[in-house]
Subunit: 673 residues, 2 copies
């Protein structure tokens, strides 16, 4: 076949594979894969740098399919270019245990850079990946050693751009001038409910120029290989602005009855239409999952190209190691997420005599004590650096011309922040944290959930954690948030009781690499527990621990709690002693970590035979029955908060020593009846 | 004082009151109130139509302070124009029990149209209010009877426009051509972290033109009364596009040391600076909370204006009642949210013989059986009408030129949808529902929370409710969502077990007006329980009920569950009988409603002495201990889902009769040990 012909047949092979796979699965999204096939062909064959035989090559271009429902096109491209996605995998689309689930899943399928599906997520995550590239390039590249130098490409859909997520990410990318971010916008005018004209008339070019993007509107060029290639090349040349390539496509291109219909968006086309479409393409209609031998050879040239690219880069990286051994070692450390030895040696020990301190403030001191020893850590807040106390003082703000800096000014864009934080972490070489008020985790929740699903070691610093924040009132006071994250798989929720527990929380969090961790901190001051009298705060590393033992051999009752309410439990313990009740106080900063301890330890901390138990936490009671049991009671917040100084809120909502004592007495009575 | 002078002194009075109130409270946001004072003066004195003595006047213009942290300016305007906000209230800013909390709260303070604070929310909600106006005007206005004819005004900040929320709402407003929506953008270049230039460089004019808005950039005119007035008038004249008026302001205008600084954003200015600023304004520096008598009289002209406006409207509305009694009655019905008598008479009864039916499909039939009898109900989905099955078939799509229609095509904008759904409901005369996949409630969560905080009777129809949705995989399969909403105050979460429970869920939901309700429905078919054998589905109205009784006098054990898993419990009950275990099956569609029942009923359903209990629900276990107790067991999903046909997912995750039986046997053993 001549060049034109092989390209045409390759593209039609992509299309027929998409139709066949969805047809076999019985459900899925064939139409977008069919219309985007030429663009995918261009990207994988002419534009992107990658090595199919080593999907982890550090300097590869990243690809993000933000319209993740079109997963089949990515699986097909991975298959044809020689990744570890077999024809059998394509045939198992959307089946139990397959590598080809309904939406692309990071960690499951090699070559998938991030999990996508919920619209807007991929778009935002790609911004984070590009920020990581810019940061690493700025820090680690040296003259003649562009060790980090790659693009981040993506496809996105009308759905991605309708989501507000896209606005936050686009605004950030434009502001930061991320020239290496290149998205192709699949403008197909079709979504599930039909023509997008019923709900969508944004002038996307204008909108994205408003975000400071470089926008090319290719119009009706979905099958024009040359034009698409040139657009990508122009986008690569644009160094100071992210690029959007607008391509008017026709969903299910070529399908005689289903092109340009919503029916082709989320359903198999049907046997007859599949055959009819193959005829239109000039492909054999009776063959399924058919890849012409020449197409196979043509597409698999990617393997050799990729090996060559990586080989050249490896050679350079070896020379880099010789010439710049310290930088090389630093980069390797980041790739392994390994802090310096003794990285935590400067973490302060907080003393009761220094007076009460807000856990967010303790966190600030701790962060700044280790920031230099955890050089791969990047982070920022959603316009709340001064409030969340997360600024790394010696490292300045990340920005255009200052990509080497480690503090990221996310602006008031919690959702974009969280997803880009995942993107930075996904890139490799870095670990990122995101900070905001705990209440605003709601804005970021879809992205936090994806981080949990991907088991990314992202970190969330969430302050102003209860009605204790005071006058800002119920719109800013979390109530249900602890419970809502405790219900989410894979994420660890830490709520340290005092400054020294914060120190161990940071240790636990930096140690944990198999999933996200969240640390929930107070705005208001809380007493520093006297560790000469109570147990060491290193108990945090086990999730829960006996903070203050009973006087006798076994406790009469157990008081338990998290965060700022633990100090109330300690006072209640004293008062109960005066009443001849010998209670134990258990601090439970992280339920998930505690559940991971062996049964012996768990029974030591919460002896089964002690049924009189009261939990104290300024949040919803939901979930606490697991720990207090049938006879237990909970001092909790099961209504919305109020705008008032925190002391008044605490008093009105029952977070007083007397009320805790009353609750425990009730539990004692119940356990004895 | 001459006209110019009284305006100037009035504006400076607003400013000094703002400084004084925040200074007295010790915290708050004075700077924005000071810089927006002239715009507020224009709006309340020259532009808006309202009646301070009747904040509920139906045809009033609505005002939304999207930058809710600047609440003090709204309180001051309410005070000065004669609403029920006293000087004492201003002095109690941010105090326990006051009418002047940190952020404006709907229902607490008369004249506050919606609760704001979390950025972007007010902006989105205002779009819903304007949609309500357009819809009601289109349906109810008759020649010479513009009974619904008002504007929706708002202030918004850089923070509002950084939030993705603003993009969704702006895109919707532009698409729908909501000419009566007029926002003033307070472009002050300052946010908490300092100058917005560190993170924000959107060309807002271009961006909003991209959303099809009418944009006027007034530049440096923050104190130019004439120019601001003219801009508002031009915005009113623009009938087909929403308007954005961009005003470059200087935060803390006039403060000699704090103007244009982040310090003036979220903190009191300090006594000295307050005095110095009063000197700059020419106001007496030693007086606090000072309102010159002439200013008082000048501002209170609003009372007479308002009374006159309402009087004229009332007269017209009386004539409307004469001329168009049916329309008048219909509008009144909407204002009371009262459905027709016997509105539910056409709700079908589903029969087991008709075969299993997805609860979302049952919901579709039910909605369409009552849609004509609940004429004030509007709703739509986030591009999932065909999937959530929420289309009211006889009513067409809402849109430009079709405002009378009752189905709203929200596009893929869950957050905007939820907030605007609140806005429609807040407007009055209408009640709105919003529909999407349950998983995407995460995108809408901040707006749903505000609806709960405001106790709005919004309705959420959330389908595809578990791993039972199948091939779309873990990105689309809710796990933690039931728990996360059960932890949220004021919202009722319904998960009906079969088609007939859906019918009663709709009844319960339409009956409930004091807070939002959520109905969580399956994608997959579930059997229709044989009600001749089991209890009536009207038990849903009590939140939980004995669906299938034990054979003997008292049950040996209790199986409980919600949604699609109840049918597994029923099968397990049969199997247990063969094993001589006489279990009861309790369906628990709504925990919150069950908790509201009296203790007797609750003990009847779940007798305390029966300790052997197993719950079955395809979601996180968190919270179920409350119902199953110490000896109970839970068949739950405590990890993420998988992409596979739902039968396989159910089998792999333990939702089988055998596994339920095993779990109950374990609970029996525990209860006997």
């Amino acid at each position: 076949m001549d060049n034109d012909n092989i390209r045409k047949v390759s593209i039609n092979t992509i299309r027929t594979l998409a139709m066949d796979a969805v047809q076999k699965a019985g459900s899925g999204h064939p139409g977008t894969a069919m219309s985007l096939a030429p663009a995918a062909y261009v990207l994988w064959n002419n534009i992107m740098k990658y090595n199919p035989k080593n999907p982890h090559w550090f300097n590869r271009d990243r690809f993000v399919l933000s319209n993740g429902h079109a997963s089949i096109i990515q699986y097909i491209m991975l298959h044809l270019t020689g990744y570890h996605v077999s024809m059998e995998d394509l045939k198992n689309l959307r089946q139990w245990g397959s590598k080809t689930p309904g939406h692309p899943e990071y960690g499951l399928t090699e070559g998938i850079e991030t999990t996508t599906g919920p619209l807007g997520q991929g778009f935002m995550t790609a911004v984070g990946m590009t920020m990581a590239e810019a940061h690493l390039a700025s820090r680690f590249n040296k003259p003649d050693f562009p060790v980090v130098d790659h693009y981040v490409y993506g496809f996105c859909s009308d759905g991605d751009l309708m989501e507000g997520a896209s606005s936050e990410a686009a605004s950030l990318a434009g502001h930061f001038g991320l020239g290496k971010l290149i998205f192709l916008y699949d403008d197909n005018h079709i979504s599930i409910d039909g023509d997008t004209e019923i709900t969508y008339s944004d002038d996307i070019k204008k909108r994205f120029e408003g975000y400071n993007w470089h926008v090319q509107d290719l119009g009706e060029s979905a099958n024009d290989i040359e034009k698409i290639t040139k657009a990508y090349e122009a986008a690569q040349q644009e160094k100071d602005r992210p690029s959007l390539i607008i391509l008017r496509t026709h969903i299910a291109h070529g399908a005689p009855n289903k092109q340009d219909t919503a029916a082709a968006h989320g359903s198999a086309l049907g046997e007859d239409e599949v055959k009819a479409t193959k005829r239109v393409y000039g492909m054999p209609e009776d063959k399924t999952f058919y890849v012409p031998e020449e197409v196979k050879r043509h597409m698999e040239q990617a393997i050799e190209r990729g090996e060559q690219l990586e080989k050249e880069w490896n050679a350079m990286y070896e020379r880099y190691e010789q010439k710049h051994p310290d930088w090389h070692a630093l980069l390797e450390k980041g790739k392994a997420l390994e802090p310096d030895k003794d990285w935590d040696k400067d973490i302060p020990e907080f003393k009761p005599d220094d007076g009460p301190v807000a856990t967010r403030k303790a966190s600030a001191k701790i962060i700044n004590s280790f920031a230099q020893h955890v050089p791969y850590l990047l982070g920022g807040s959603a316009d709340l650096a001064a409030s969340t106390k997360t600024l790394m003082e010696d490292w300045g703000y990340f920005g255009k011309g200052n990509y080497q800096n480690r503090n990221i000014p996310w602006g008031i864009r919690e959702h974009g922040m969280a997803a880009a934080t995942s993107g930075i972490t996904l890139h490799g070489g870095l670990r990122a944290f995101a900070a905001t008020f705990f209440i605003f985790s709601d804005y970021a929740r879809p992205a936090i959930r994806l981080a949990a699903l991907m088991k990314l070691p992202t970190i969330y610093v969430l302050t102003h954690d209860s009605i204790g924040l005071g006058g800002d009132g119920p719109t800013h006071q979390p109530v249900e948030h602890l419970a809502s994250f405790r219900a989410m798989p894979n994420i660890f929720v830490f709520r340290p009781a005092d400054a020294n527990e914060v120190a161990y929380t940071w240790r636990a969090v930096l140690r944990r690499k198999k999933g996200p961790s969240m640390m929930v901190l107070t705005r208001q001051n809380v007493p520093v527990a006297d560790r000469s009298k109570y147990a060491s705060a290193d108990g945090v590393l086990k999730g829960a621990y006996v903070l203050s033992k009973e006087k006798g051999d076994a406790p009469d009752a157990i008081l338990m709690g998290t965060g700022s309410e633990v100090s109330i439990a300690l006072e209640a313990q004293e008062k109960l002693r005066d009443m001849n009740v010998d209670a134990r106080v258990v601090s439970m900063p992280c339920w998930e970590l505690f559940r991971e301890q062996d049964e012996n330890y768990r029974n030591e901390v919460l002896p089964q035979k002690v049924k009189a138990r009261t939990a104290v936490e300024a949040g919803a009671a939901l979930g606490w029955k697991e720990w207090v049991g049938d006879d237990g009671t909970v001092v909790s917040v099961d209504r919305f908060g109020s705008s008032a100084p925190y002391q008044e809120n605490f008093a009105h909502y029952g977070f007083t020593v007397d009320n805790v004592v009353e609750h425990l007495k009730k539990s004692i009575a119940q356990s004895q009846s």
